[in-house]
């Protein structure tokens, strides 16, 4: 009935270690995959920070962007309303493709062994 699921009444779900059984080096590989995924996520975060995170301080330091108008609206407002949403989508799309590729190469690695 509840969205919180029945797992409270049962032992927490115990993950299997077939991977470790299947390959002697499974754990090492998995740690490498995790580190590679984390590095990818952090680089995407850095891109996000460089493109978006600097905007508030840039607008603060460059009040000229409030005075210059484009089609009657200050440039600073255009920057806030229009280009950032597609940028988030773009970063997300690039990230998801790379992350899938990392997963896929991990699968290849495990299957080959």
């Amino acid at each position: 009935m509840s969205a919180s699921g029945p797992s409270g009444e049962r032992a927490p779900h115990t993950p299997r270690d077939e991977l470790a059984d299947a390959t002697a080096h499974g754990e090492v590989y998995l740690r490498r995959l995790r580190q590679a995924q984390l590095a990818l996520s952090l680089s995407a975060l850095t891109a996000f920070g460089a493109l978006f995170g600097v905007l508030p301080i840039a607008l603060y330091l460059l009040p000229v962007l409030d005075r210059v108008h484009l089609l009657g609206v200050p440039v600073a407002l255009w920057l806030l309303v229009i280009p950032l949403f597609p940028m988030f989508f773009g970063i997300g799309l690039l990230y998801a493709r790379r992350a899938d590729a990392l997963d896929e190469s991990f699968r290849e690695l495990v299957r080959r062994r």
Partner: protein, 582 residues
């Protein structure tokens, strides 16, 4: 009249579709099969539909009108939150197979005591987030029918509680997806039609120049229902119940109830707590002080960026994705869909500054989205557009508050109740009855709080929920997923200290009123302090733990891609599906 029909249509349509749809998703396998058939686009629309709340539909434009363009950082943060979720949480969480935050906490950290703490925080965030939804319902129903504020709050609270209790809206991906498109239609089409009708943004001097919000060419008449404390930003002549008065610039006074008339172009007096800003200052996204200061903006962005992943009603929906890869691609689409919606609320805030300046006087800027159409285009067209917006706003309250109440009721019936009577219910019928009681009980406190919160902006109320989520669950997720060293002790210390610092800031801000300077900004938006504290305490607590269990199996479950023959995982998911206990 049209608006009443539109609102009633949305409400009954949602309740009806939910009740009808739930027949088809009763069993676990039905739900699983259905979820396999749901494409990432449908899923993404459903997630976005549940996410776009009163804060998005009414709150952003209201805050923008009141405080200026600095409010437009909020939708950016609301959207960017899904980027954080995508980069660090979406795929591992889907693979792990816990459906709620308490489930995840218990399974990852192997602690039932921590589960109780997580449940308490879920309730805290859920209530904080539910209150502004009910406030939105109260003011919208009041606008549409003229009913008093409390009628809308209690009515929508009751409808949602009954609907959730009877099982409507649960797991119904298509209903939520439909609500998303309804909301996008309702916010975008009137905005475009009004902009074309007005020939672009009107009153540029008011919007971006040196002018204060002022009465239009025909003057302004406002009926005050009750006495109102106001400040006159400029020397203004006004008529009160037919008698002429003159106010000095900067004069504060209490206007009695009655009919206030201002001449053409007269600067509008503003309600206490609102600052009358000249256009150029109003249009600055970042300014030297107050709610547009860089410190405040960064703190707000941090709260929304990191808080989204910790909202209790968001997580469940990710399990309609068949695997981790689909979870990623669904989240990318959510980023696109939300961006589409969030381009529009800013239009209403700007139009409202010019067309409905009386809202500065009454302080009811949260209704600006609903008021603008009839002010811009009096007559049938304006009424029709206003009805569209009211319907969209209602869709927003219904979907978000249903999702929140499901989380609250689930936690109450599942975690709180057994801890009181000491026994877990064994039969499905007892669980179902408990969930129904919990859905009713869980709505009481939010309704009571919402009745007292009429004077607080929706955007501000929602902001608090994000701060608490960012200071508690976000560090727990990020460290729990990516760091094997996180222990139960570290997580509980960190979540407790994050919750304490965040709530202390909010409560101080409420009691002290409007504090000035950087300290005031930090109290109103404490994330930039509380989030680092939560992270630091969580790491320190983990490192100082006496026991360091090997969390290898949990890491495997979180990070191993599908398709490696880990067949049992699929079964575990089937057992854990919420529909299994329906």
């Amino acid at each position: 009249m049209i608006a009443i029909l539109a609102v009633a249509g949305v409400t009954f349509g949602t309740v009806g579709l939910g009740a009808w749809g739930v027949r088809f998703a009763r069993t676990t396998s039905d739900l699983l099969v259905a979820s396999r058939a749901v494409t990432p686009w449908w899923n993404a629309a459903a997630i976005s539909g549940e996410y776009l709340s009163a804060a998005s539909f009414l709150g952003i434009a209201g805050l923008e009108m009141k405080l200026g363009a600095g409010a437009l950082w909020q939708p950016l943060g609301f959207t960017a939150g899904y980027l954080a979720l995508l980069l660090f949480v979406a795929a591992p969480l889907r693979r792990f197979g816990s459906y709620t935050i308490p489930d995840f906490v218990q399974a990852r950290l192997r602690s039932t005591r921590l589960r109780s703490l997580a449940s308490a925080i879920v309730l805290l965030i859920g209530v904080f987030y539910l209150v502004p939804q009910l406030k939105g319902a109260g003011i919208t129903l009041g606008f549409v029918t003229g009913a008093p504020y409390w009628v809308g709050v209690t009515l929508v609270g009751a409808v949602v509680a009954v609907n959730v209790g009877l099982g409507g809206m649960r797991g119904i991906t298509y209903v939520q997806a439909f609500q998303f498109w309804l909301k996008v239609f309702a916010i975008s089409v009137p905005a475009c039609i009004l902009l074309v009708h007005l020939g672009g943004l009107p009153g540029r001097a008011t919007l971006f120049g040196g002018e204060l919000p002022h009465a239009g060419a025909h003057g302004l008449v406002v009926h005050l229902d009750s006495a109102q404390r106001v400040e006159f930003p400029a020397r203004t002549r006004y008529l009160l119940n037919g008698t002429a008065h003159m106010a000095r610039a900067g004069e504060s006074m209490t206007l009695p109830a009655g009919r206030l008339a201002l001449g053409p172009g007269a600067a509008v007096p503003v309600a206490e707590g609102t600052h009358a800003l000249r256009g150029a200052r109003w249009a600055r996204p970042v300014a030297g002080s107050g709610t547009s200061s860089p410190l405040f903006v960064y703190s707000l962005l941090l709260a929304t960026f990191l808080g989204t992943m910790g909202l209790p009603h968001i997580l469940v929906r990710f399990y309609t994705n068949p695997d981790g890869r689909a979870a990623r691609h669904t989240t990318v689409r959510v980023l696109g869909l939300l961006g589409m919606f969030y381009a529009f609320p800013s239009v209403y805030g700007a139009l409202g500054r010019v067309l409905t300046p009386q809202l500065y006087l009454t302080g009811a800027t949260d209704t600006v989205v609903l008021q603008v159409p009839q002010a811009a285009w009096p007559g049938t067209v304006g009424e029709l557009l206003g009805a569209t917006l009211a319907a969209g706003a209602f869709a927003a309250f219904l979907s978000t508050s249903s999702g929140l109440l499901i989380s609250i009721a689930g936690t109450l019936s599942h975690d709180v109740w057994p801890s009181i009577d000491g026994a877990h219910p064994t039969t499905v019928s007892i669980r179902r009855r408990r969930f129904r009681v919990a859905a009713g009980a869980g709505m009481v406190l939010p309704v009571v709080l919402a009745l007292g919160a009429q004077g607080i902006d929706i955007g501000v109320l929602v902001g608090w929920a994000f701060v608490i989520a960012a200071s508690t669950f976000c560090p727990m997720f990020l460290l729990g997923i990516w760091w094997t060293g996180l222990t139960a002790r570290g997580a509980s210390w960190g979540m407790l200290s994050g919750a304490l610092v965040a709530t202390a800031g909010i409560l101080l801000d409420l009691t002290l009123g409007e504090a000035q300077g950087p300290a005031g900004a930090l109290l109103a938006q404490p994330a930039i302090v509380s989030v680092p504290i939560a992270f630091a305490v969580m790491i320190a607590g983990s490192l100082s733990s006496r026991e360091h269990p090997d969390f290898g199996p949990e890491m495997l479950a979180l990070h191993a891609p599908e398709g490696l023959g880990l067949a049992q995982r699929e079964q575990a998911h089937a057992e854990l599906t919420p529909g299994a206990v329906a």
